[in-house]
Amino acid sequence: MRESTLWFWHLIAGIVIIFVLGIHIGVMHLDKIMQAIGIMSAGDVLSYADVLARAKTIAYLIIYLLLMWFALYHGFYGLRSMILEISMSKTAQAVVNWVIFLFGFGLAVYGTYAIIIGYTMANA
C-alpha cells in the first residue's frame, strides 16, 4: 500500500475525530453550556437513568465506534510516523510496522466488543 493511502486516512480520521469528539465533549463536559444555549440536551451527565438512556440509542453506538476506530488509527499512524523517523534498519522498520498494526488492531477489536456489549446490555 502506498504511503499516500495511509496518510490520506490519517487526515480523514483527524476530520472525523473533530466532529465525533466535539459531540462527546459537548454532551459530557460542556453539557451545562450546551443546554443553556439550547443546542442539545442529552440529560444529566452522571445520572444512571440518563446514562442508560443514552447508551440505548443507536447514535451513541455509532458515534463511539467511529471515535474509537478513527482515534486509534490517527494515534497509531502518528506514533508509527514518529518512531520511523529515527533511522533504523529495514528489519526494525518491519517490526515497528507489525507491532503498531497488531497492537492497534487488537485494541480496535477489544474496543468494538466493549461498545457493542454496552449497547446490547443497555437494551436488554
Binding site: R2, E3, S4, W7, F8, L84, E85, I86, S87, Q93
Partner: protein
C-alpha cells in the same frame, strides 16, 4: 600576518575587526574537530566569503572551503554562519550579521570532507532519484524532439519559483527531518519532484512517484518551514512539498493530465524588420 591586517586598515577607510571562529577538522589528522580563531579587519561591504578568502590568503593557508562563482549562482559556498545555513558570498559581514563574532561551520546534516567543506553526496543522490528532468510518454520524441512544446505563461508560473534551486544544500542542512531520518529525500529533492511533476511538458509522474510517495517520502515533512527560511534563492521548498502532497492526492483520486502537445510551426508569418537576426555560429 599583522602587517597585512594593518595595511588593510590603512588602505580601506572603513574597517572593523571581526573575530572569525572557523570549524576545523581534517579526518586524516584530527580525531576531534576544533575551532580556530582569526581576527580579520573586515572592510565595509565584505561578504563572509571575502573574509574566509582573506584568512586563507593571509593568515592560514590550510583552511579549506568551497566556493566558485562568488555571486550567489553556483551554491558552492553554502556554510553554517552564526547558526544558520547561508551562502557565504551573499552574506554581508557588517551590515547583515551585525556581530563582532562570526562562527563558521560546515552545513549540518552532511558528512564532513574537511573543515567547512561538506560532502554533498546525499543531496545529489536524492536529487537524482526523483528524475529531475522532463519525461515524455513518447520516448522517441524525448530523444529526438520534433519541435517546441506548448506552454502558457501561467503554466510557467506554476513551477518557475521552484526552478530557481541552485543545489546549494542549505535547505537540507536546515531540515529537522533530514537530521533524524536518513531515508527522507529532503526538501531539495521533493521540491524538484514537484517542479517537474507540475511542468505541463512532463509526463513522468508515475516514474517519480516511488521516490516520493513512500514511508520516508513527502509525508514525513513536518512543515517546520526551516528549509524555506534558509533558502537563499526564495524557492520555498516547504510550500512545494505541500503542493506535492496535494498533487499526489489529486492524482490518486483520478486527476489526469496529458502532457503538452508539440507546438505547430507558424505559417505565413513575416519577420519584423526591426528584429535583428542572431549572429553567425562561431562553432561549426
Amino acid at each position: 600576518m599583522s602587517e597585512t591586517n594593518e595595511s588593510y586598515k590603512t588602505n580601506f577607510a572603513e574597517t572593523k575587526d571581526i573575530v572569525f571562529k572557523i570549524f576545523r577538522y581534517d579526518p586524516d589528522v584530527n580525531t576531534e574537530p576544533h575551532f580556530d580563531t582569526f581576527t580579520v579587519p573586515v572592510v565595509k561591504g565584505w561578504t563572509v566569503l571575502d573574509a574566509v578568502m582573506h584568512i586563507k590568503e593571509n593568515m592560514d593557508s590550510t583552511v579549506s572551503y568551497r566556493a566558485s562563482c562568488r555571486m550567489g549562482i553556483c551554491g558552492s559556498c553554502a556554510m553554517d554562519i552564526n547558526g544558520k545555513p547561508r551562502l557565504a558570498c551573499q552574506t554581508q559581514v557588517i551590515a547583515e550579521l551585525q556581530s563582532d563574532e562570526v562562527v563558521i561551520k560546515p552545513l549540518a546534516n552532511y558528512p564532513i570532507l574537511r573543515d567547512i567543506v561538506p560532502d554533498l553526496t546525499p543531496l545529489i543522490q536524492n536529487h537524482e532519484a526523483v528524475k529531475p528532468y522532463i519525461i515524455r510518454k513518447d520516448k522517441e520524441d524525448q530523444k529526438n524532439p520534433k519541435g517546441e512544446l506548448y506552454q502558457t505563461p501561467d503554466e510557467l508560473e506554476e513551477y518557475l519559483q521552484f526552478s530557481y534551486c541552485i543545489k546549494c544544500g542549505a535547505c537540507m542542512a536546515a531540515c529537522p527531518v533530514v537530521a533524524t531520518d536518513e531515508e527522507f529525500p529532503g526538501p531539495q529533492a521533493l521540491t524538484q519532484a514537484y517542479r517537474y511533476t507540475i511542468d505541463t511538458r512532463d509526463d513522468g509522474f508515475m516514474e517519480r512517484i516511488d521516490s516520493v510517495d513512500k514511508t520516508h517520502g513527502a509525508w514525513r515533512c513536518h512543515f517546520a518551514g526551516a528549509c524555506s527560511d534558509a533558502c537563499p534563492k526564495g524557492v520555498d521548498p516547504a510550500f512545494a512539498i505541500q503542493l506535492l502532497k496535494r498533487e499526489i492526492t489529486a492524482r490518486k483520486f483520478g486527476k489526469k493530465r496529458e502532457p503538452a502537445p508539440i507546438a505547430k510551426q507558424p505559417v505565413n508569418v513575416k519577420r519584423l524588420e526591426s528584429v535583428p537576426y542572431p549572429p553567425e555560429k562561431t562553432v561549426k
